[in-house]
Symmetry: C2
Subunit: 426 residues, 2 copies
């Protein structure tokens, strides 16, 4: 018996849809059936839209194949506005919000033939207070955040693709905890209009799927940059490990993943080297926290001033911390960030990418928090392209992996090397 359609990857499905070997309706039904079976456990969805998804699939089946995502089901993080589905930003303040427009990236993917299946659970305003979603690998563990529902839905084969966004580590951490591929593009590459802002200097739209080829397909469709589809590498890529200044936070599972990666690369004939970040980069972790806090106080001004009672205790504490950052401190933090952004290319030296930790370790066995974003913060502040690779298992059998981090704006290279590495490390 062949694998059910919902288990197949996006590129395979796209080819079958383009040749009319399968219909979008069949695929959407397979996904909906599986969601129906699993949602009571996983709780990935803030809103499911089976009727409009089926209607759209049928329309696409009747029409010509034009877009890169023709007929493919997509999950939309509930931080992204949708004209045909409610949008809560993970907060009860917006429990009855029906936006009048799609976020740009949603509109662009619809135009490429994507079928929007529903809204996936986000943490409260994409910060740290969890939603209802559970880790599909083990329901007592967090799926990570803030793109909790998107990561769980993709990992559980409910949809092949789902939108994410990252301000600290909200693409990479849930991808790591759920054992899928997450791609956070270079800062500024993907349009953010219609995505609820947290921090103008940090917010980045990202993509979740079950393979590097699939996040690349998704990103190519969303940005219109088809060169992202060319993932062949002819030469042996120039890769270093980067343990980062945050290495002391890594637990044994992440340490083992780094050792395993070094071993596999050595076996494949690579001389494995270390890329050491400048000493001044040690301050970036704290700077990222403070920039995020400072911006959050302002981005959520309306909610904080008019609906304080509906904010979680955790978020209120985060806002109080943010209010303690002075304008002078904020300017100094931004200055540090700009200097580091200007210097990071030099730090990379001859290397095309580095391999770095994605998370502290396995998904913590809790549903009351989403895990530490410590290994995402600095790369987000630096605006570098990051791709999480789920190639390893931790001591209790849960997914672990590493992220490929590329040079500024070199998303194509990062994706190419990520695809190559996934083959070497698996």
């Amino acid at each position: 018996m062949p694998a059910p359609l919902n288990k197949l990857d996006a590129n395979t499905l796209a080819k079958k849809l383009a040749t009319r070997e399968i219909t979008s309706e069949q695929l959407v039904r397979a996904c909906l059936d599986w969601i129906n079976e699993r949602e009571a456990d996983v709780q990935a969805w803030a809103h499911l839209a089976p009727d409009s998804a089926l209607k759209r699939a049928q329309e696409l089946d009747r029409g010509p194949v034009t877009g890169l995502l023709h007929g493919l089901p997509v999950g939309v993080k509930d931080l992204f506005d949708t004209a045909d589905m409610p949008t809560t930003y993970g907060s009860s303040i917006y429990r009855s919000l029906q936006p009048v427009a799609d976020a740009s990236i949603v509109a662009l993917c619809r135009a490429q033939g994507a079928v929007m299946m529903g809204k996936t659970v986000t943490t409260e305003f994409a910060t740290f207070t969890p939603g209802k979603t559970r880790n599909p690998h083990r329901l007592t563990h967090t799926p990570g955040g803030s793109s909790s529902g998107s990561a769980a839905a993709v990992a559980d084969h409910m949809v092949p693709l789902a939108f994410a966004s990252q301000t600290a580590a909200s693409v990479i951490r849930p991808a790591a905890f759920c054992g899928i591929v997450g791609y956070k593009p270079s800062f500024g590459l993907v349009n953010r209009s219609g995505v609820k802002p947290l921090s103008d200097s940090l917010d980045t739209v990202g993509f979740l799927a079950r393979s590097v080829d699939d996040v690349a397909l998704f990103a190519a469709a969303a940005t219109g940059d088809r060169s992202l589809l060319q993932l062949e590498t002819s030469l042996s890529p120039r890769i270093a490990l980067c343990h980062t200044h945050e290495w002391p936070y890594a637990d044994q599972d992440t340490q083992h993943a780094m050792e395993h990666a070094a071993l596999m690369l050595a076996k494949a004939g690579h001389r494995v080297r270390e890329m050491t970040l400048p000493e001044s980069f040690a301050g970036l972790l704290q700077a990222q926290k403070e920039i995020m806090g400072f911006d959050l106080v302002r981005s959520l001004a309306y909610e904080r001033l008019e609906h304080a009672i509906e904010l979680s205790t955790g978020l209120r504490e985060l806002l109080e911390l943010g209010q303690q950052i002075s304008h002078d401190q904020h300017r100094a933090n931004l200055q540090l960030a700009y200097s580091a952004r200007a210097a990071v290319s030099t730090a990379f030296g001859e290397y095309e990418v580095v391999l770095a930790p994605s998370a502290v370790g396995e998904a913590p066995a809790t549903l009351t928090q989403t895990g530490d974003p410590v290994f995402g913060r600095v790369w987000t502040l630096l605006g570098l392209p990051c791709v999480h690779l789920p190639f390893y298992r931790g001591s209790s059998g849960m997914p672990v992996g590493l992220q490929v981090v590329g040079r500024p704006g070199e998303d194509k290279v990062a994706l190419r090397v990520a695809a190559w590495l996934m083959r070497q490390l698996s």
Copy 2:
């Protein structure tokens, strides 16, 4: 007979309100009376909210004085979301949109005691297709755009303060054409959440008023940075003229304004020098246009894909131009911009600010376009603080002036020197 309250500047009014010499209700009524008299001619307002403004004024009159803007009437550009007033973004697509939240900057100013009087006319999505507003100095002339209604309302004494935003020249040009002070802060200084995005790399929230002290008060309240209020200059500021690479676009009136400024500074004992921008900056004008076009295609993806028929011909042409910019070209443009941003501080040398053209000349005698934004584009792309000073009259008697441009992030200095210059040049 004393001047009617609506004629007074914001700082004077703030003092009278704080000491209860006048009530906010009296002030709001004076503004509403004047709007009532003039609106049929000027047409500055997309939506006027007399009832809620009076109600809020009465509340503030009954309560304690806490905020910097206590009781002051403010006009809100119709590109900014408001929870209690419709918001159209200058497009019929949104003719019936009632946002559920305030833009952050609106919420922050409300918390400082501002009374929102209504929504001021913006051009279509803050691009170049005009709204109904006329120049209050001469009704057959454009008020400039995109902050057309805000500039006209402030110039005509309908309100002392109004919000603006700039992607090309939409703060500085309408300020110039209407003869008021416009302040475009450094990129990243003012939160943009809830302001309809055009270009993530360019969009900047700004402030309109009738004096430098008033834009500084407004910005201090909006950002929470009270150091912007300290406008005293003890020493003689270090100022250069900067004719810019776009100087050939300047007509005689703007040429005369530059000559007049040089003369006045020389009279006051200043050695007047020129700051010459690097040759490589000559490409920034075209780069700004292309970045704006590229981003616009994506930011307005939903409108372009789902409501194309409701876009103006002008905007559709702009979008078609934007669609011709390749990803490689866009990356090259951003790279040029980043290099220039990194180099601009050096270009300033010893100077604290430069004086540069704000617009080609007087407001053109037309209502079918809003004038050329050529003198705003490069400074916007560089992210520098700009303050328009309305100290001059053109050959047909309409307002002309120059903009003070400060070093990156040196908004305090730019405002301080602008206040000093306004005294020297007037």
